[in-house]
Symmetry: C2
Amino acid sequence: MGVRKLEHVETPALVVDLARLRANIAGMSTSVRDRGLALRPHVKTHKCLEIAAMQREAGAAGLTVATLSEAEVFAAAGFDDLFVAYPVVPSGAKGERLRRLLDRVRLAVGVDSAAGAAVVARAAQGRPARVVLEIDSGQHRTGVAPPDAVSLAEACAALRLDVEGVFTHGGHSYAGPDAPRAAAIDEGAALTDARTRLVAAGFRVDVVSAGSTPTTGGERPTAVTEERPGSYVFHDRQQLGLGACREEQVALTVAATVVSTHRGRFVVDAGSKALASDRPSWLDGHGTVVDARGSSGPGSTGGTVVSVSEHHGIVEGSTLPPAVGDVVRIVPNHVCTVVNLFEEYVVTEAGRVVDRWPVAARGRNV
Amino acid sequence: MGVRKLEHVETPALVVDLARLRANIAGMSTSVRDRGLALRPHVKTHKCLEIAAMQREAGAAGLTVATLSEAEVFAAAGFDDLFVAYPVVPSGAKGERLRRLLDRVRLAVGVDSAAGAAVVARAAQGRPARVVLEIDSGQHRTGVAPPDAVSLAEACAALRLDVEGVFTHGGHSYAGPDAPRAAAIDEGAALTDARTRLVAAGFRVDVVSAGSTPTTGGERPTAVTEERPGSYVFHDRQQLGLGACREEQVALTVAATVVSTHRGRFVVDAGSKALASDRPSWLDGHGTVVDARGSSGPGSTGGTVVSVSEHHGIVEGSTLPPAVGDVVRIVPNHVCTVVNLFEEYVVTEAGRVVDRWPVAARGRNV
């Protein structure tokens, strides 16, 4: 397709800044490689074959996915080394899907209980199935405490599953601006503890995998082998608030049209069905407008999306509000859930549309 | 397809209780008709052709949609009387889409500013285009105050738009359990005020349209002609909290598999990419588990989804937590954003799967 100006894009739309996306991918790739670690980016953020190809070209060791259906989309496109970083419980028809994936690509899945491992083993029907033990490093969401890694590994071994190693997600890195540094240390400590115990119990531990965008830059003990950040390709308002990126690294915005301007505020056509409703407790509002008329010049601001309903974003605090019909761009709070709401990316360079990429794994959350 | 038990459905899944859905549609239809009002249900809730057909069969006067792309989906399926209850600003390529819809179906669109009306008129290119003026009845989101209805109508008339009437959405009905009654009164008062002024200024006012599920049962002055509820087909945790429905009317749940059971809680595979993150300030948590092992019997409870990440729902408060691999059903906070995350409904009768319906307008939010 030809080059078009952003003003002609139908809104709400998912707009990628290609130069920034490339810089984010290259930057993370270099920084992780320079520290001697493997990079297995989490593609649940972008769900996009074109972006995964860029990550592979930049040296990704494989991809991380959240679900079997994401694995299926990327496997079908030739990505043949996949890790489902989730305690997969492939009961019912999911068992057949797991088998097909095991037959097709190098697949590993997370486990965090003997009961879950038993479902994986039953589904595999004797195929060699790689599992990675999920360790809780302080988020207390899923995963076993490090001392329990050995009994979980033994349960897996008894089920003839191939224990590849351990992984954790220090999701408490998202608890606030001061959280990432401590969460990174927690990830390293929990993984090292679990690894030490497994080695002492006679297990070979090939993979020691940490990951979240806010913790990836943090301190890593020598035991860690792999990083699994996801959001870094685009970043978002949450990553900005956590100090995990700078403004000029934000590579994704939602383009929206101003539809109403009463009562000293303005309303755009991007609400919770475009910006999602994710909002960490430490962050006010649902997005930052980056290019209303008032957003250039010192002391000026485009405003904040202070509330959303399904098709409305209410913007306050713009120093020079735009008019009905103007198109503005919004940095959303949490890019992963936003991407999942759209069918395609509008890819831009220097403010012009240069391509469209499908969100290939959109809704593949099963 | 054959009848299957819910336990074999791949999760997360959108599960409809067909008997309850039918009862909700019949009940609303009867209650609105008995009060002498037209029912124009908002299909942004279900985005589903099969359900819209049931509503039409039960006597719906037409459908309400939120976007031109929703209008396109329903128009293509033969629904020929559509109202876009939104201040539509059809700039750029949306203008061509509006024209095609005007040529094809009986379409009306909302307007809340002369600037927006001018974009509608430009897009229509001389076609007779019906507009309905949005009146602010207290939500203060979009819409003009009743005294400003006349100048807006005059601006529309000067643009040769056909002013059909006025509409409002008393969205402040969602402010808390005490809000719906007062919001219903506000809707009626604002609409009556606007109508009176328009009639006095010589405008014919055919449509006086109020609407939201929590206010539909409320007091209506004689001026009101039409109701536009949406969520009533399914209801949800929010409607329960507002007193807008009873538990036995909840017709949609998200089926989820228990994937982890550590630390006295359990974790299901439905997180923010299945339950969405919508949460009104007056409601704790993101869902109610309705059939964990502990949910039957006096004093027992299935538990509450206390937090979500993308693929994790953390459940606490279950009196007898289920085991890894068990399938539970969750009543989500806000059904409209949940439905938009799924490709299909799993339709059940007496706990057995009897059909699958596509979410035909899923993601059609442009």
